[in-house]
């Protein structure tokens, strides 16, 4: 399991396919992850076809991994299959609501991450795409997702064609709380973010973006309040439209 500690996101891939047997083996492994009541409230859409990748790409703001990776996996919350089974068995399902949207998301994400761990163990490289929750409507259209199915994350997968350095993480004490949540004093924040802020690559990032602090690169450039508010409304509306 040493590989888990060495892992890093891979965004450049060789032009080389992933054998169907290997992919299926990894997916089978992924579906051994814990799942609520053993209900498997998720589905995975596998995209290999170049045309289909082309349809998906705009939904991901044309991030190059979508068309360059041999395989793109869209992990979806799926209460459609389970509800269909219920109806066909004289049982009235009650899974078209927010609680099951969240529970289905948990289920789908545990499977997604197990897939990634297993794939990386086999030498594959992966990249998550957060754009999935920015443009869910475009993905729903491209992948023809019916009611009670919702795309929660996307993973691009392929054989690595780059070997980037590992990026930093916050110290353990920044993230772990003993017994109760210990809220952060200004001194805590300074101490816990000092290493991140000191890194040459992060300092350069601030300069490149003509900002005064690293935090401003996040709030003013990468993840703005305005965008988040628009996306929140869209996400909520599309969730409702999908029947939750």
């Amino acid at each position: 399991m040493g590989s888990l500690k060495q892992r890093k996101t891979i965004r450049k891939y060789q032009q080389k396919d992933i054998p169907v047997d290997l992919l299926n083996d990894l997916l089978e492994t992924a579906f051994r992850a814990s799942t609520v009541g053993n209900m498997q409230t998720y589905s995975v859409v596998v995209t290999r076809d170049a045309d289909r990748k082309g349809k998906l790409a705009p939904a991901h703001f044309n991030q190059p991994m979508v068309t360059a990776a041999p395989v793109v996996l869209t992990f979806c919350i799926d209460l459609n299959r389970f509800s269909k089974w219920c109806r066909q068995r004289q049982a009235e399902p009650g899974y078209n609501n927010f609680e099951w949207f969240v529970t289905g998301a948990v289920d789908a994400l545990l499977a997604a991450q197990t897939f990634c761990v297993a794939a990386e163990e086999k030498g594959l490289g992966i990249c998550y795409l957060g754009t999935t929750t920015y443009n869910p409507h475009l993905i729903i259209e491209a992948l023809e997702l019916p009611e009670l199915v919702f795309p929660i994350t996307t993973v691009t997968v392929g054989w690595p064609a780059e070997d980037p350095a590992q990026v930093d993480r916050l110290p353990l004490e920044a993230v772990v709380h003993e017994e109760v949540y210990h809220d952060y004093t200004p001194e805590d924040i300074d101490r816990l973010y000092a290493y991140k802020e000191s890194l040459p690559e992060n300092r350069q990032y601030v300069t490149e973006n003509s900002k005064a602090t690293l935090a401003q690169v996040f709030t003013d450039v990468r993840y703005t309040k305005k965008d988040a508010e628009a996306m929140s409304e869209l996400l909520w509306n599309i969730m409702k439209k999908q029947g939750f």
Copy 2:
């Protein structure tokens, strides 16, 4: 990685501690999981204290794992730490909304599942507790979670004191869709659920609950529409109350 395919949930634990170094090592491994913009929008609360477990137990409907496991981990969406950092660096955060609730959930769940994989690799057993999203208000109180922190899942961890048989999964073709979502015909549903319905343990489960079908055990006993609707409203309200 063979162990991933053999895994199963463990609900009975030996009365034996998990060394602090081992736990910290597993948590550090967990935090190597992919994380949005390298922001680590999560926190983990570690519960070892018997009194604190006693406070958490009712939130989990007194499932015995909470008090029996040496360690209980509550994985939380956390936009508090990041927002505090922003404010302290002359940056105006915009993470108090639904988009970041969902993104924080993705982040927290990838870390949770990486923890579980690493823990199982070391011989530990884990159990997820879905009750976290049924009673978030009780967990927020027990763990003193501030605004912009939300408990999304709980994992109990310990050295296994049982060795249950693996439970079934749907066939791969039930969950995987090539290129687009292929909706299920009644014949598909019959075929895909046939194995699950044929299992002696599942047939017994139907009889024990005096139901006509396995699906009815889910809809009428385990996960009812009425409960889900009440929990959906609560979950939404508590999410709002925590500032999202």
